[in-house]
């Protein structure tokens, strides 16, 4: 029986989650660095990924975007495959991963965020340039738009990367240590920006290094150390014993097994 005034279905049922990872195992040179990750990220959340060095934080987001091959498991983005939903994924790589002496201006870099929309062999349109300008404005770098990127401070360079991610106009963002090596002012500017994105319904996963600030910045935390230690709302996850599990006590057995796997497959 159909009721004309039936309430809309709850959102969780009508829309698939932005990111769903099932039993994902990733290996570098045959050496597993992530084991059996299960993860379902609800929409509109600001998620911090924390864990010690070598915990596989960057690996996780790269594998989630399909930049690294998975040894097993699958990733779904908005209910489909990653490549079907490329335009809905934005990415902020680590700042050190590029050569900042490269001869491009701030505007050029931000415009690169539009390339996914432009298509092979096409030129960016006036609209794309407008979007880039708007994003530069949003991160407060208008005065620098035509500067070469090596003229910028570390914090400003990070904001350029964020502006580029904004220009992608995606719904799901992966950010690799956007707070690394930035000053306090930039850090608060970035977090304000992330909050603004969240307010527009975007989902953001941020690899984060600093445990104390993680608690205040993020809605949800993913504690990672070669496997998922815990995932949930920050106040539930930010517990002594869980953090102890994540950071304390080296996972000797897991890393020894990883080494064994590598040696065996050589």
């Amino acid at each position: 029986m159909i009721t004309p005034h039936s309430a809309p279905l709850p959102q969780t049922q009508s829309q698939p989650p932005p990111l769903e990872i099932h039993d994902l195992t990733v290996a570098y040179h045959q050496r597993p660095v992530l084991w059996g990750v299960d993860l379902v990220v609800p929409a509109g959340q600001l998620v911090g990924i924390v864990g010690p060095n070598g915990a596989g934080k960057s690996t996780l987001i790269k594998a989630a975007m399909g930049l690294l091959p998975a040894a097993s498991g699958w990733v779904k983005v908005f209910g489909g495959s990653v490549s079907e939903n490329l335009r809905r994924i934005g990415y902020v790589p680590q700042r050190e991963s590029v050569d900042w002496d490269f001869p491009v201006s701030v505007h050029d870099v931000v415009l690169m965020g539009r390339y996914g929309h432009v298509g092979l062999m096409r030129r960016p349109t006036a609209h794309d340039h407008d979007v880039a300008r708007r994003c530069i404005e949003e991160v407060g770098l208008v005065a620098f738009a035509n500067r070469q990127i090596s003229d910028l401070s570390g914090g400003q360079q990070q904001r350029v990367f964020l502006a580029r991610a904004l220009a992608q106009e995606s719904d799901l963002y992966f950010m690799d240590e956007p707070f690394a090596g930035v000053d306090a002012a930039t850090e608060s500017a970035i977090i304000a920006l992330l909050q603004a994105l969240k307010a527009r319904g975007k989902t953001i996963l941020v690899v984060h290094h600093d445990l104390p600030t993680a608690r205040e910045y993020f809605d949800m935390l993913l504690l990672l150390n070669m496997r998922v230690v815990a995932f949930g709302p920050t106040e539930q996850v930010f517990k002594y014993d869980l953090l102890q599990q994540t950071y304390g006590g080296r996972l000797t057995i897991l890393s020894e097994m990883a080494e064994a796997v590598r040696q065996q497959s050589q």
Binding site: M112, R122, R164
Partner: protein, 492 residues
């Protein structure tokens, strides 16, 4: 590196820069042909051989500059070097095809050999622990050795037309024929069209390949495509520049362009321009000397362009930077003199403003009166002060007075900021302020002023008044009566 150590380096560079011109003179003496006659032949383009040589040089300059731009920004200089050496066995094979200098056969052979070399490097990197530079070095040396064996073998063969194969080692633009130039034009046009078509993608993968991969751009395909174009550029330049020096035509013009611009598309344009310039200059000089190898002359011409960019690039040039530093040092010197005059006036409570003598200034600056006179003359040249010749007293102009107030004000503001906002002990702040006073920008001054007025302070941590904006507008040597003057005159 100290400037003194740089001087011999500069001298060496200038020497290299002059080399072309100097040798051009000598060549006339050495070879029997008259170099004036040769120059006339070249410039009038009477000779078809000259026309081909010129066209070839322009084409090779374009293709090498274009692809070299990517080599430089992607930090692949050694890769370019490897590629240029690795094509030699391909050249020999192409020559063997029908024992003659067939452009197409040599083109195909050289391109294949270059790509084989690139593949060998990739394979070595994947399957061994050898580092990138070692792998490149091995392939470079080994392919070149194989090529040398083949070339010497061909030269020892009894039959066939062997002339021309040795020209591939150091290049000979004059040996270019119509077929060669046609092929070079096709390949260069292809390279230009492909780079234009995929410019956006090449830019992004060169700058940030991780981001490019996240957009699912075909990063690997673009990389190999670029390798292929690079091999094309090498092969285009091969006959005129020679195997040994092609890498220079890839790297040097592009590196010169890299010093002159901050945008990739302009870099590529400049690199093409410099490549063409070097190519034509090299072809011209070697033509003067009749059958001298072209490659080395082109390379020296390109190096000259680079040396000029290295020295005189507006932003990155060594000379320009030295000039800017010197101008700044002079400005600081002037400002220090102005500051000293202010201090002399301040000590005596700004009475008798127009009577600061050279001796007082010299005592304050701790230098001889003559040196103080020189300093004042410098101020006078910049319209900041006047020296009364009869009385030997110093008179600041309105601008000079403003600047003096500004510097003292900057100094004391910064001291106050360090002491009250950063909580550094008052006796630790002076040395730092001596430097900062010359660098403090308007924006920073406003910020500090804001917190200064917020704190209701008017004097620095040593108790001396900070000149206000109003003071700077008053005539020379007058201060508001309300200002507390520290007549004990401690050193600031």
């Amino acid at each position: 590196m100290r400037p003194r150590r740089a001087i011999p380096l500069l001298a060496a560079f200038i020497l290299l820069a002059c080399a072309d011109a100097a040798w051009a003179d000598r060549i006339g003496d050495l070879s029997q042909t008259d170099w004036r006659e040769q120059a006339k032949r070249f410039i009038t383009l009477r000779d078809p051989a000259v026309r081909y040589a010129l066209a070839g040089s322009v084409l090779l300059g374009m293709s090498c500059g274009l692809l070299g731009g990517f080599i430089v920004v992607r930090k692949m200089a050694l890769f370019g070097d490897m590629l240029s050496h690795a094509v030699l066995p391909g050249v020999a094979l192409g020559f063997l095809w029908n024992m003659s200098k067939d452009p197409v056969a040599i083109f195909v052979g050289a391109t294949l050999a270059g790509l084989l070399g690139a593949a060998a490097v990739t394979l070595l990197r994947r399957t061994t622990r050898l580092k990138e530079d070692t792998a490149l070095g091995i392939v470079l040396a080994l392919f070149f050795a194989v090529g040398i064996c083949m070339v010497t073998r061909i030269q020892s063969l009894p039959q066939g037309n062997k002339s021309g194969i040795d020209k591939f080692l150091f290049g000979q633009a004059a040996a270019l024929g119509a077929d060669d130039v046609r092929l070079m034009a096709i390949v260069t046009a292809l390279a230009v069209v492909l780079v234009c078509a995929f410019y956006k993608e090449l830019l992004l993968t060169s700058f940030d390949s991780a981001f490019a991969a996240s957009l699912r751009l075909p990063v690997a395909a673009l990389h190999y495509g670029l390798m292929l174009l690079l091999a094309f550029a090498v092969v285009v330049a091969l006959q005129a520049v020679g195997v040994v020096l092609v890498s220079a035509m890839l790297i040097t013009p592009a590196a010169a362009a890299y010093l002159l611009t901050d945008r990739l598309h302009r870099l590529l344009l400049y690199a093409m321009l410099f490549g063409v310039l070097a190519g034509v200059a090299g072809a011209f000089v070697s033509f003067l000397g009749n059958n001298l190898p072209t490659g080395p002359f082109m390379v020296l011409a390109a190096s000259t362009v680079f040396a000029l960019a290295f020295l005189f690039s507006p932003r990155h040039g060594v000379v320009m930077r030295w000039w800017r530093r010197r101008a700044q040092a002079q400005r600081i010197q002037r400002e220090n003199t102005l500051k000293a005059i202010y201090h002399v006036l301040e000590v005596r409570g700004f009475a008798h403003a127009h009577s600061v003598s050279l001796h007082e200034l010299a005592a304050r600056r701790q230098c001889a009166p003559d040196a103080a006179r020189d300093e004042v003359m410098v101020l006078a040249r910049h319209g900041l002060a006047r020296l009364q010749p009869s009385s030997g007293t110093i008179d600041l102009t309105q601008t000079g007075w403003q600047r003096a107030c500004e510097i003292v004000r900057n100094h004391r503001l910064w001291e106050w900021y360090l002491a009250h906002q950063v909580s550094i002990a008052p006796d630790h702040v002076h040395a730092d302020a001596e430097n900062i006073e010359h660098l403090l920008g308007e924006e920073m001054v406003c910020q500090i002023e804001h917190s200064l007025s917020g704190a209701g302070a008017t004097s620095d941590p040593h108790g001396r008044p900070i000149p206000s904006r109003a003071d700077m507008q008053r005539p020379f040597g007058t201060r508001a009566a309300a200002d507390v003057v520290d007549t004990k005159g401690r050193m600031p």
